[in-house]
């Protein structure tokens, strides 16, 4: 027997107009005094509690980008007409879309789900994957793959034992069940993420160019339909404040702030949406993610050319006691909103019925210019939708270069003790191979299905994930995500460009032509001028770097407030680069197989160890200036790699980044268990470095490749003609057990594999 609960009176627009002095919990909802005043000005009275709820979530940092958007002009300023050519849909839509040729369009985006994943690792990570997949679906695409850049605190910290297995199980649980191959990502450990793990999720989707859909509501009389899962009380953040004063023990009080995902429901929703698109019954479409119905209704209306009328009491509920404010805020998963012409409504409903997906007409597009929401016939929201969705506050936050930076940059790696003989080099190699950031990640990646859909041509641990898009021609895409946040800590502008350079290089290493960029900008509090400076520098670095490389940023995400107390994470601008291949069956794997092939090192090496893995692992040192960026060299190298792949000049290629040449050689050897003899003298002499520097420096624009003997002359001729620095440093040799670095050390395959594979398995036991 339910006790009679006193319900708060419905706060209608007319009620609000007659009660201007009612105290409202705007502060508890995270609004600033001037923001509340501005809302009052926009609506010309005090907002109703439903309006206040909508504005509060839509004007949040997460939804409005209020601290970051003033810097986004940097994207536009650095995008040339040539870069725009391949861009079918740019920043601002659910995800960017690029033209990959033959009439195919690809959409991709990376987003963060950091805070929920710390609170509830499994569901936080799962719904992060689910959310980005819906963004891709809402562009009209079939999702074809996911990736997940993950960052955790110290591997051996007890809380990492709680967070990591949950996050990995959540990423796998959702992605495996929805049937998308997980083709890559990152797993990074650093103390700076201890209280602030980063769970970023990337999804890529493909469609024919004519099938692109957009989030807009136009056409007076068109129906607005909510379909998918029912709306429940999950994912309601601060909004419960609105009603909590009057809820007693008989009513729902504390709502969980983390959403709960159901990948089965989303799988059905994907297939249902694709059938709806194929039947041409959808005029506009929007997924329901952050800020739920508040976001979907206001964004659809704002992007359209009219107003919108919604009957909120028609929303199907999992919990009948939900208040209208809560329904507007709920972030229940697996929901979509479509705008449909009345004449196509029956066909729409027939398709959703076939998939057993619940669909409800909530209202329609009107010829007014307001979003009007009613609750059992009474108006509770009456606002200009742009003011909610797109015209939120903009902050010009103060920024200042942090004082500590001079000292940090002055503390270089010159004084760190370096190994003096072959045994020392070997010992450092093995230490690095077993270190948390460089060790084998298969304990994690084997929990993800990398084969489903049958189009995966490369996945972890190769440099990039590669999937086929067109089964007839083999046309497909390669994607990599990268960021060394220690570089960004030392110099955020350079660090961001280094992430861009590495991701670009990885895609080219797999044999694909880099085409477009998405980014997930993970930073501390924007209220800290030092963090804001890091943010500005990073955005500038990415934007200017993209201009030099001629590939546009198509979209992404900003995550602020990744800090504990006054201590922010290292600036972590994760960069995802997408490239295209005419035929992915010609992709280049990262390990060598064929004995007798010659190994070339492309690019030159300088003494650049600051922020690198050797200084981090062996000395726990962070200081100095990060490696130099040379985007011109990256472009040339990329061209060489793509041409070599196309013409069959290389059989394996592996990018040099974390841990330098030593790690790249070890990984290329362990990939298929085929050894190599290596000599470094020529490189050392040419670049004026010692063997240690040759092996462990993290200079950029470098890869190792293995070249069939029959193609060696053509390959070196191409390098010489194009001015690509290259040196023959070894030969693939199945007689050699592991690596024989001549004149310095030999290390057996099993010795390497053992230290490489045991690290995660020991910590996570089994």
């Amino acid at each position: 027997m339910t006790a009679q609960v006193d319900r708060p009176t419905l706060d209608t627009v007319s009620h609000a107009a007659t009660t201007p002095d009612t105290e409202q919990p705007w502060s508890e909802l995270g609004l600033k005094p001037d923001e509340y005043a501005e809302i009052r000005e926009i609506v010309g009275r005090r907002p109703t509690s439903a309006e206040l709820a909508m504005y509060s979530v839509m004007w949040s940092e997460h939804c409005s980008y209020k601290s970051s958007k003033v810097h986004f002009s940097l994207w536009g300023e650095n995008t040339t007409d040539e870069m725009r050519e391949k861009l079918l849909v740019g920043i601002g839509e659910n995800a960017g879309v690029v033209d990959i040729g033959d009439g195919w369009a690809v959409t991709f985006k990376v987003e963060s789900h950091n805070h929920p994943s710390y609170v509830e690792p499994y569901q936080g990570a799962a719904t992060g994957v689910g959310g980005i997949i819906r963004d891709i679906m809402s562009m009209g695409a079939r999702p074809i793959a996911v990736m997940d850049p993950l960052r955790f605190g110290n591997l051996h910290h007890p809380d990492t034992q709680r967070v990591l297995p949950g996050v990995v199980a959540g990423v796998g649980g959702y992605g495996n069940c929805i049937g998308l191959p997980n083709i890559g990502g990152e797993v990074v450990f650093d103390d700076c993420y201890q209280g602030n793990p980063l769970v970023n999720a990337l999804c890529v989707g493909a469609m024919r160019i004519e099938d692109i859909h957009l989030a807009k509501a136009s056409g007076v009389g068109n129906k607005v339909i909510l379909f998918g899962a029912r709306t429940g009380g999950d994912g309601i953040g601060g909004v419960s404040v609105l009603a909590s004063e009057t809820f007693d023990e008989g009513g729902p009080t504390k709502r969980p702030a983390v959403q709960v995902g159901d990948p089965f429901a989303e799988k059905v929703l994907i297939e249902c949406c694709l059938d709806l698109y194929a039947a041409h019954v959808v005029d506009g479409i929007q997924d329901l993610g952050g800020a739920g119905l508040s976001c979907a209704t206001s964004e659809l209306a704002s992007n359209g050319d009219g107003g919108m009328q919604i009957e909120l009491d028609r929303v199907p509920l999992r919990d009948a006691s939900l208040r209208p404010e809560e329904i507007l805020m709920s972030e229940s998963q697996e929901r979509m909103m479509a705008v449909v012409e009345p004449g196509k409504l029956d066909e729409f409903m027939a398709i959703t019925d076939r998939w057993d997906v619940e669909a409800t007409v909530l209202g329609e597009v009107t010829d007014g210019d307001h979003l009007v929401i009613t609750w059992h016939g009474e108006v509770i929201v009456d606002v200009p939708p742009r003011s909610v969705a797109h015209e939120g506050p903009t902050y010009h936050r103060p920024l200042a270069r942090p004082d500590y930076l001079d000292q940090l940059q002055a503390n270089g790696t010159g004084t760190l003790a370096r190994p003096v003989d072959g045994e020392g080099l070997k010992s450092d190699l093995l230490t690095l191979l077993g270190s948390p950031n460089l060790c084998d990640k298969s304990w994690i990646t084997d929990q993800y299905d990398r084969y489903v859909l049958g189009n995966t041509a490369l996945a972890m641990p190769d440099d990039a994930g590669v999937v086929r898009v067109d089964e007839e021609t083999g046309r497909g895409v390669a994607i990599s995500t990268d960021c060394n946040s220690r570089f960004a800590k030392l110099d955020p502008y350079t660090g961001a460009q280094l992430a861009l350079a590495e991701s670009y290089r990885n895609v080219a290493t797999a044999g694909a032509v880099p085409l477009a960029v998405t980014d997930c900008l993970n930073f501390g509090s924007p209220e800290d001028p030092g963090v804001m400076w890091q943010f500005r520098e990073s955005v500038k670095g990415i934007a200017e770097g993209c201009k030099t490389l001629g590939i546009p940023v198509t979209g992404g995400n900003v995550s602020f407030y990744n800090q504990t107390g006054d201590t922010a994470i290292h600036p972590t601008p994760v960069i995802g680069v997408l490239g295209v291949m005419d035929d992915v069956s010609r992709r280049t794997p990262s390990g060598w197989k064929a004995p007798g092939q010659v190994i070339y090192l492309l690019g030159s090496t300088r003494d650049e160890l600051a922020g690198g893995e050797w200084a981090h692992v062996v000395h726990g040192h962070l200081g100095g200036l990060p490696p130099k960026v040379d985007l011109g060299a990256e472009q040339l190298l990329g061209d060489i790699l793509v041409n070599a792949s196309r013409d069959g000049l290389v059989d394996a290629a592996h990018d040099l980044s974390d841990g330098g040449l030593a790690i790249a050689l070890a990984e290329a050897t362990m990939r298929y268990g085929v050894g190599a003899r290596i000599w470094l003298d020529e490189v050392c002499e040419r670049d004026g470095i010692d063997a240690f520097t040759a092996l462990f420096s993290e200079s950029t624009a470098r890869v190792v490749v293995s070249v069939p003997r029959s193609e060696e002359v053509r390959f070196t001729d191409m390098c010489t003609a194009r001015g690509q620095v290259h040196a023959r440093i070894g030969v693939v040799d199945d007689e050699t057990d592991g690596l024989d670095v001549q004149g310095h050390f030999t290390v057996g395959l099993s010795a390497m594999t053992q230290v490489h594979t045991r690290t995660l398995r020991e910590v996570f036991a089994g």
């Binding site: 199980a169 495996n176 799988k267 998939w355 929990q447 299905d449 489903v452 049958g454 041509a457």
Partner: protein
């Protein structure tokens, strides 16, 4: 020859199974869970995935789908049926095959390139293999542990109905390392690994999945 591929809500590898069917020159026919209609196909593949979200128990709800009302008697009458992963679970839930699949003993989803030994090369789906042949097939599941009582296991072994066994370390705690089994007639085969992911050079660890489909093609054509 026409091979039906059933799509339940939550089926994931149905498109892959259809691709594998086409790879050997047969016609793939899509069968819908809600229709008790086999559309005159010569064989059926129950694909992998998470039918009905694996709610209740893997395969337990799919077993009651209308399409199964048509499939169960047809299979009992000799129609070749291959159940892959979730499809194997559906076959066990339907009692077309004995035993059950439970959570992996290490409690994790596991996706690996798995070596298998073909123990029986005389079933409808394995006649193009050699008995004792070692093959590599993708294994990916969270609930792949095959269990049955001792008597059933002895019966399966005695009648040569253990069709595939895991080579090397047992990846999931399956009793006696069993990866796949068949019915007495050998027309119904269920296994946890995914042959449909091993039919194209470059898109999987091997092409060892092709003989599954050439086998059934040959049997149906010669029948």
């Amino acid at each position: 020859m026409k091979v039906g591929v059933v799509t339940f809500p939550g089926s994931l590898d149905d498109r892959d199974a259809a691709r594998a069917v086409r790879a050997v020159g047969a016609e793939a026919v899509s069968l819908w869970h809600g229709d008790a209609d086999l559309k005159g196909v010569d064989a059926v593949v129950l694909p992998g995935g998470f039918s009905y979200g694996d709610y209740l128990r893997c395969g337990a709800i799919a077993r009651f789908a209308p399409v199964m009302d048509a499939l169960i008697p047809a299979a009992q009458g000799g129609l070749p049926v291959l159940g892959i992963c979730n499809g194997f679970q559906v076959l066990c839930e339907s009692h077309l095959l004995p035993g059950a699949l439970i959570r992996n003993d290490h409690r994790k989803f596991n996706c690996v390139d798995q070596r298998l030994v073909v123990e029986n090369a005389s079933t409808t789906w394995t006649s193009d293999f050699e008995a004792g042949q070692e093959i590599t097939i993708v294994l990916k599941n969270g609930e792949g542990g095959f269990v049955a009582d001792e008597r059933t296991l002895d019966e399966l072994e005695g009648e040569g109905r253990v069709v595939f066994r895991y080579a090397g370390d047992n990846p999931n705690g399956s009793y006696r390392g069993i990866a796949g089994i068949s019915n007495e007639r050998g027309n119904i085969v269920g296994l946890m690994p995914h042959p449909e992911h091993c039919v194209e050079e470059g898109y999987g660890p091997s092409t060892d999945g092709l003989p599954f489909f050439t086998s059934v093609l040959r049997q149906v054509v010669s029948a």
